[in-house]
Symmetry: C2
Subunit: 133 residues, 2 copies
C-alpha cells in the first residue's frame, strides 16, 4: 500500500494490507486501556489521579503511556494549569468523542459475553487431548 | 470482584475492576488480529493458508496463536478433515458471528479516521517542546 496515497483520502485505507497505517490505529483503539479511558472521559475532563482510581489496578506507567498514545493520536487533550502543584486535565477531542460510543459497545459486549467466554475457556482447557495438525 | 458470582450472571461483569475476567475478553476482542480474522470468516469457513493470505503480512506464529485464542474463547471452531494431507477449516461459532459486526465497525472506524489520526501524530511529533509535568 502506498502510504502517501492513503494520506490523501479515506478510500486508500485497508487494514488487511500489511503497510496500511490503519493497523496502527487498531492497535491503539483495541487496547484494553483505550476502551476503558475514552468512555470514562465522556462526562467531562478528568485528572490523572481520578483516571487512575477509575481504572482499578492500572499502573502509573501504563496509564501514562496509554494517555500519551491517545494524545498523540488526537483522541485526548492534555491541559496543564499553572497552579502549585500544577493541575493536569485530560479531555476528549471531537475525534475521541466520536470513538467513544464504539469503544463503549466493545466493553459492553465483553462484559455481556464474559460468562459465555469463560465457559468456552473451561471447556477448551478440559478437552481430552489436542487435535492433530 | 467475585469471579464465582460473575460466572452466574452478566450483572457481575465490570471491566473497570482489576480482577474482572471481562478485561481478558477485551484483550482478545481488541487484538488487531481478532478484528481482522473474525469478520473474514463471515462469508464461510477458511483454511489456515487462506486466512494467512487474507491477513497480509501476518506470521504463521501470530496467526496460529490468534486462532488458538479465538478457538479457546469460543468464537471460532477448528475442524480437521482426515484427508492426506489433513485439511483444517476455521469457522465462526454463533458467538463469533455475533462479535463480527462490532469488530467490523472497529476496523471501519480505524480505516475511516486513519488520515485524521496520522495528521494528529505528525502534529504531536513536531510540537515545539514537551509540556511540563
Amino acid at each position: 500500500m502506498d502510504t502517501t496515497h492513503s494520506l490523501r483520502g479515506y478510500g486508500g485505507a485497508d487494514a488487511y494490507l500489511r503497510n496500511c497505517p490503519s493497523r496502527t490505529v487498531l492497535d491503539v483503539l483495541g487496547s484494553k486501556w483505550t476502551v476503558l479511558i475514552v468512555p470514562s472521559l465522556t462526562s467531562g475532563p478528568m485528572r490523572f489521579g481520578e483516571l487512575r482510581r477509575r481504572l482499578d489496578g492500572i499502573t502509573q506507567k501504563s496509564l501514562t503511556q496509554a494517555l500519551r498514545h491517545l494524545e498523540r493520536d488526537g483522541l485526548v487533550t492534555r491541559t496543564v494549569y499553572p497552579t502549585i502543584p500544577p493541575r493536569v486535565d485530560y479531555a476528549l477531542t471531537p475525534l475521541g468523542e466520536e470513538a467513544s460510543a464504539l469503544l463503549e459497545s466493545l466493553r459492553a459486549w465483553a462484559e455481556d459475553h464474559m460468562t459465555d467466554i469463560l465457559t468456552a475457556r473451561t471447556a477448551y482447557e478440559s478437552r481430552p487431548d489436542p487435535l492433530p495438525v
